[in-house]
Each structure stands twice: as C-alpha cells, then as structure tokens.
C-alpha cells in the first residue's frame, strides 16, 4: 500500500500538473513571458524533487530532462516554440500517466515507457547541446539522431550478437568484444552455437551466437561503438530491458537461465520477467511495511482519486436530496391511496433508489474528525507550557467520519473540554509525583462509531471531579437543597448547568467547570448527549454522543389535536398508554408510573396550548437524555419516519423547544421537537407548582431501580 506521504505527493503533483497545463497554454500566446517560463521550470523542478524524494524514480528521471530543457529556455538558449509547448504538454500527460501507474502500483508498461523515451528523444533533438555545467556526468557524447537511448542512468541491456562467420579470419575474436562490453559494467553472457552439420564445421569459422546481459551507465551508442568494425555484416541487436535498479542478483540469474534454456528467447519475455520479479518484490516490501491489514487490496481500488469541491455545492446536493426524499414520500403516499399495483411498484423502486442516493450524498459530506484533532495538539502544547504542566495528547480514531456540519460545530466545545482538562484536571508535575503518578499527564481524545452515532471521549488521568466540592457550590448557589442527596451523576451534570460556572470565586474550590455550559449547549444543539464518568484521584472521562448527520434523522411522528409533531427517535425509549386516572388529573403534577419508575412528563397539549379535537386515549412517549427520563403526552403515536430537517428560518430562530420542521408525504408540515430545551422551559414554568427537586428526586429514585 502506498503511504500517506506518497498519496499526498500524487495529489500535489496533480495540482502542479494542472497549473503547468495552464501555464503552457498561456505561454503559447506569450512566448517571451519569462515569468511563465520560470513558473513551468519551477513546476517541473518541484515534481522532480518531490518524486525522487518519495521514491518515484521513473517520474523523477523523466521530468529531469524536461526541466533541463526549460532551464535552457530560461537561459535563452532555446526559444519557446509551439512545438516545444506541445511536446511539453505531451510530457505533462506522460507524467500524469506515470503518476496513475504509480498510484495503482503497477510498473509503467512498455508502451508507456517507450512513449516516454520517444518524448525524451524529441526533447534532446530540440535542445541538442546540453548547456555546459548542466550535465550530471561529465562524459561528452555526440547525439546520434537515430539512437533512442542516451540516458545517463544505469540500465540493463540485452545484446544479441551473431558475428560474421569469417570474423576469426579477419583477426578479430568475438570474445574480445564481449570483454570490452564487460569493462563497461556488470556483464553476463550465454554462448549458443549455430546448428551446423559436422562436416561443414570448420575451426576457422565462427558459428557462435552471443547473448549478453549488460548493466551499464554508458549510453547506448557507446555499446554500439564496440561493434563498429563488425557492424556491417554481423547480426546485432542492442535492447534496453529495464533500469538497472529494477534487477537484483536473483533476477539476473533467472534471466540467464531463460537465455540458456532457449537461444532465441524474445526480449519481451525477459522484460516481463523483470517486471514480474519487481512486482513480487514490491508486494513483499509493502506487506511487511503495512502489517498485513490492507494486503489484499486490489490496486484498482486505490486509483480512486479525490477531487476538491466547494462545500456549498455539497450542501446544495444534500438539500436537493432532502427535497427528493420529501417528494418520494408523497409519491409513496399517492401510490398507497390509488392502490394501483404498477404505480406502487414504481414508488417502491424510487424509494429504494432515493434511499441509496441519500446515503451516498450524505457520505460525501462525511469528513474524518482527525482534521479537528490536529489543532488540539498545538493547544495542549501551548497551554500546558503556560501552566507549567507536562501533558501529552493522545488521539485515537482520527479516521472516524462525521458530517462536516457537525464537525464544524464541534470544534469549540472540544476546545473548552480540553482546556478544562488541562487547567483543572491534570495536576502539576510535583503533585503528580506525590501521589505516585507519572510526571506527565495524558489527555486522550478518541472518536469511534457506535450505531448511527459517533462517540467522542476526552479522558484525562488527572484529579477527577471533586463531587463534594461541586455539591457545596451548588448548595451555595441555591441550585440544590442542602438536605438533598443527589447522586454522583446528578452532581456531575450540575457542572454543565448554566450559571454554575459563572461564579468565578468558587471555581478554585470546585476544581472544574469553566465554560462547561457552553459545551452542554453546543452538544445539545447538535442533538448530542454528554456522559461523564469520574474516578476521583484517577481522572475523568467525558463522552459525547453525536448524531452522524444533522440533515436527516429518524423521527417518531405524533399527533396532538390536529397538529403533528416529530420526536427524534434517537432519544426515545418507549411509548406507554397514559392511564385514564392520570389523564383526568390534567395540568396537575404530571408523573407517570412505568413499571415502578416514576417519570415526569409534559403534556404537549397543555404546553403548546393546543385546543380542539381531544382523544379518548393519550399516550406518553418516554425519552431519555443524559440519563434523565422524561415523557411527552400526546394524543396518538403515528409511527417512525425518515425526517428531512428544514430550518424554520430567522423568524422563528428564538423559538425554544422546536428545532425545525419537516414536510410529510401528504405535504403537511410537522414541527420537530427539540427535547432538552422543551424540558427546560417546561421545568421553568412548572417551578411555581412543582419544585425542581421533585424531578431530581424522582430521577434519583429511577436510577436506583
């Protein structure tokens, strides 16, 4: 598998290439623009440098020659001609193709390589004399127009040489020629004898065919020079097999074996052998570096490229899909009403397609949370230094994906929570040593999927919450009764209550709780929940449970009078019938006994002031948020629906208890209930009659059950 840096390089290189294309197209009309020349040169230079750094040698060496050409342009040696521009454009495409093959991790095939070599050859024709001082090796060589290979890097050649029969008579020993080749690099050869009838065989005639493998950095023409005297009447083929780096000893051995086995083994067979060996080699290397895991991935899967799209376009797409879901609900409804089987079938197909489309559209907006985590490293580093603490931040699950709208709104609450951990959770190094902890504290930030929600937890190994201090402070602020015996969970939830943290002078006593109401509010707005677990002296963990997306939720449709409302299904525990006795009590103390648990409930009819159309039976929808149960009495429960959330807009932005609206299949609008603020308003209003402790007290009794 390709590592992240290589992936990043490929993306970056693609950007550079598209910039390069623009520059090239521009320079065609403005050939004297030295700024553009510089731009093109720099792009080539960057690609060359980066590709060799990340091990894409083929790209690096190809780009090198084009860079050289543009260096010559820069120095005024070569003029920008339409021909040069189109060649460079072709090279750009070639680099792009090389990138693609690097990305899918296959060796560039012969066609691609030869196309590249052809391009390089044309570049050399155009820039015949490499400017002095620019060559990598000092060896001067004259460019032979017909000879395609002038590469400076080491390459593996196969030389097929069948000397003329009379070579010995001319006083030349073919072996001398072979030795001359051997002096140029690493050489192995195989000698085959031409089949001749014994009587014809004469000692002074040569019937040998030499098959030579040579790895050398000398240019091809130097190899040809060796045979210059026998060229005319001998059979000579010099072919480049691969870059020398592609062949280790093992490969050599196998090539030699193949050449020994049959006299006329085609060059293409040898090339494919090298390629195969190289691929196996690479695969072995990859597997050892990625600890198994992704070993079975097909290269094609990885060639998927990413494109950058403005997020507004995605929002628009998601909105349109939302509308489509609404229309589809209408279609389904219409099909049911008409009870036409063919229409029903179409409606079902459309439904299936749309739900797939919806999932796809939503997944496009999913962003890994790692981008948000990254910025906290800096925060922890700076803040801990400021406070004289030693803290390391450990992050887990960076790849967990969340809707980008959720991630955008998650940043601030996370900052508050981490600040809080640094400020109040982790002790000073000296204090930590006293209680036998490591000097450096650890804050662990982790994210993971759980069903349709994402869990993000921030845990530290600091002092934890001091619940007694919280209780004292809450009593001082009049938030709880001095005689009340709240559970630990209730005390911990007080930390998130607005107003609790505002009294600055007590904060030092309580230890924690700065800005935590901000956290609570933001998470609630996101439809999320907060859980705190605390072990005094050892640390605390705050877990946020967030919905994957904000645009579409599962909701329970309920009816009150003639009005329809939606309750988010994620918070719903169960639905029970409201006993007739309880129903008659009306506005009084609204508590319901569910299998021994006393649960407070809000009668939506009273709360929303809905008149008319009463029903014989009422139902209570029991919800649970942050461990607290609360019921909502409604006239009827109509069922579960996929709800596309629509904003009520600026005009209704201040309405508490309603988070938005949705359009149902028949076109009517149902309002979506925002449970926590609705409870908060209901509690505020009921305080005249029932004190807050009653609910808290009942809640604690529930807990014990």
């Amino acid at each position: 598998m390709m590592d992240r840096n290589q992936q990043a390089f490929i993306e970056e290189a693609r950007d550079l290439l598209s910039g390069l294309e623009d520059s090239l197209l521009e320079i065609e009309h403005d050939p004297l623009n030295s700024e553009l020349v510089g731009k093109i040169f720099r792009a080539m230079h960057t690609i060359k440098g980066a590709s060799s750094m990340f091990g894409f040698d083929a790209i690096a060496s190809f780009t090198h020659d084009i860079e050289t050409a543009f260096d010559a342009v820069r120095e005024g040696v070569v003029a920008v001609t339409p021909q040069l521009v189109s060649m460079t454009l072709a090279s750009r495409d070639h680099i792009s193709a090389l990138l693609s093959s690097a990305e899918s991790e296959v060796e560039p095939d012969l066609e691609l390589t030869s196309a590249g070599d052809e391009l390089l050859k044309r570049f050399r024709e155009l820039v015949p004399q490499t400017p002095p001082g620019k060559t990598d090796t000092g060896s001067p060589h004259d460019v032979k127009q017909m000879m395609p290979e002038t590469n400076q890097r080491a390459a593996l050649y196969r030389i097929h040489f069948k000397p003329p029969e009379n070579i010995l008579l001319r006083g030349l020993d073919p072996m001398n020629l072979i030795q001359e080749l051997a002096a140029m690099g690493e050489e192995r050869h195989v000698v085959h004898s031409e089949e001749t009838s014994p009587d014809e065989s004469r000692a002074d005639l040569c019937h040998s065919v030499y098959d030579v493998l040579l790895s050398t950095s000398h240019p091809l023409e130097s190899l040809q020079d060796v045979f210059i005297f026998v060229e005319e009447d001998s059979e000579l083929r010099i072919e480049k097999l691969a870059d020398a780096s592609a062949c280790d000893k093992d490969v050599w051995q196998r090539l030699i074996e193949a050449m020994q086995a049959s006299k006329g083994v085609p060059t293409s067979v040898l090339i494919s052998m090298i390629k195969e060996a190289h691929q196996i080699h690479q695969r072995v290397r990859n597997e050892s570096s990625t600890y198994g895991g992704a070993g079975g991935q097909h290269p094609d899967l990885k060639s998927a490229q990413s494109i950058k799209v403005p997020s507004e376009r995605l929002d628009k797409l998601v909105n349109l899909v939302g509308e489509l879901v609404t229309v589809q609900a209408r279609l389904t409804q219409a099909a049911v009403n008409l009870s036409d089987p063919s229409l029903t079938q179409i409606a079902e197909e459309v439904e299936a397609l749309i739900s797939e489309l919806r999932d796809n559209a939503m997944s496009i907006r999913m962003v890994p949370i790692g981008t948000t985590f990254g910025r906290f490293k800096r925060l922890v580093r700076d803040l801990s230094a400021e406070l004289g603490k030693e803290i390391q931040l450990v992050t887990e699950g960076e790849d967990t994906e969340l809707d980008k709208t959720v991630i955008e709104r998650l940043g601030d609450p996370l900052v508050h929570m981490i600040r809080n951990s640094i400020d109040h959770g982790i002790e000073l190094p000296a204090q930590r040593e006293q209680v036998g902890k490591a000097r450096a504290g650890t804050i662990r930030l982790s994210a993971s999927h759980s069903g349709t929600s994402v869990k993000i937890s921030i845990s530290d190994d600091g002092a934890g919450f001091d619940t007694e201090a919280i209780r004292l402070k809450a009593v001082m602020q009049g938030m709880i009764d001095p005689d009340a015996t709240p559970t630990e969970q209730e005390l911990l939830s007080i930390v998130f209550a607005p107003g609790f943290s505002t009294a600055k002078e007590v904060t030092s006593v309580s230890g924690r709780g700065v800005g935590m109401d901000v956290v609570h509010r933001s998470i609630e707005e996101l439809g999320g929940q907060i859980e705190v677990s605390n072990s005094p002296g050892k640390g605390a963990t705050i877990t946020l449970k967030l919905p994957l997306t904000l645009a579409i939720i599962e909701g329970l449709l309920v009816k009150v009078g003639s009005e329809l409302f939606v309750l988010p299904l994620a918070s719903i525990k169960e639905c029970v019938e409201l006993p007739a006795l309880e129903q008659r009590r009306g506005k009084g103390g609204q508590l319901i006994n569910v299998r021994g648990e006393i649960i407070p409930y809000v009668r939506l009819r009273d709360f929303f002031g809905i008149t008319g159309e009463t029903s014989t039976y009422e139902y209570v929808v029991i919800t649970e948020i942050d461990g607290r149960r609360c019921g909502f009495a409604v006239d009827a429960v109509l069922g579960e629906h996929q709800i596309v959330i629509k904003s009520l807009g600026l005009m209704y932005k201040d309405v508490e208890g309603i988070s938005g609206a949705t359009v149902l299949g028949d076109g009517t609008v149902a309002l979506i209930i925002d449970i926590p603020p609705l409870i908060a308003v209901a509690v505020r209003e009921r305080e005249r009659l029932v004190r807050f402790e009653t609910i808290a007290g009942d809640d604690s009794r529930n807990k014990r059950n």
Binding site: T326, E563, K646, L648, M651, V655, I658, T668, V669, V681
Partner: protein, 165 residues
C-alpha cells in the same frame, strides 16, 4: 420612510379589509391560494405559522394582525403573497396573508407622496409612500420593515418565561 421614490415601478396591489395596499413587484415571488398553515406553538398571533412551499418551509404572517386589525379569516379570496425580504443581510422568503389580491399596476413617482406622519392606523415606518389611483389611496408598504426582525422581537419575549429568582 424618508427615501423618495424616483423611478416608475410596478406594484402589486392587495386589500386588507377595505384599504388597498401595494408592494414593489420586485419583491414578490408568487401568490398562492390560502392553504393549511401549521401554527408554531407559543409564538405571537400574527405569526400564523408555516406552510410547505414545494418542499420548503416558509413562515406566514397575518398582515392585518401585524397592523392591529382583526385576524384574517379564510375566504375564497384569501391569498398568501410570497415575498422576498431582506432580513439581517439574508434574503428570506416569507408569506403574507391578504384578504384579496388586486392587480399589478405601474405608478409614476409623481403620484406618490411621502408617508403622512399622522392619519393612518399604521406604524409609519412600514409605509414607503402613498400612491393615488382613480381617487383611491394606495398605501405602499416597505415590506422589509414590516418583517424586520427588530419588530418581530416579541417572539422571544413570549417564549422566555421569567425564571424564578
């Protein structure tokens, strides 16, 4: 409204009770028949609720209640005028209830006078000018002002019950 109207513009005229009102046609998107409005609980009476405008949730206001008249009752002529309003820098789509929609007319700036300081039941802030046509006065509304958030601040007040303390 102090801004004087200088260009000939088209106006949509409509009736609230017996008086003729007008709004710049550029702000009108469409006119709908009155259909079911979903009331958002615990909001002022003049905020009649929301309707479904082709999948979009659009708030509907009762202009008559807003102007201190009686509640708009549903008749065959009752219409919802969908207007685009500039609110806090954002363009919002809002529906306004009218007893009936009349016509689209052109009015020359010369026949439009500034809003009188006295003599109307209406908050003069809402009025851009007074036009005249066939001896009939036409009240030209500044629709942005009518729906401006400042004037709708009452919503918050009704919702947020005083906290015991």
């Amino acid at each position: 409204m102090n801004e004087t109207i200088t260009e000939t513009t088209q106006y949509l005229t409509f009736k609230l009770e017996d008086e003729v009102y007008a709004t710049d046609i550029a702000q009108v998107r469409e006119v709908l028949e009155y259909s079911r409005v979903t009331k958002v609980p615990r909001t002022p009476d003049y905020m009649r609720g929301v309707i479904n405008l082709r999948g979009r949730v659009v708030p509907v206001l009762d202009l008559k209640l807003r102007f201190g008249m009686n509640r708009t009752e549903q008749t065959v002529n009752t219409c919802v005028i969908i207007v685009e309003v500039n609110m806090e820098g954002e363009t919002m789509v809002i529906g306004a209830l009218a007893d009936s929609v009349q016509e689209v007319i052109e009015m020359d700036p010369s026949v439009i006078e500034p809003a009188p300081k006295i003599g109307t039941k209406l908050n003069t802030d809402f009025i851009r000018g007074m036009g005249k046509r066939d001896e009939q006065f036409i009240i030209i509304l500044d629709i942005d002002k009518v729906f401006s958030a400042d004037n709708l601040g009452a919503v918050k007040a009704t919702m947020a019950e005083p906290v015991l303390e």
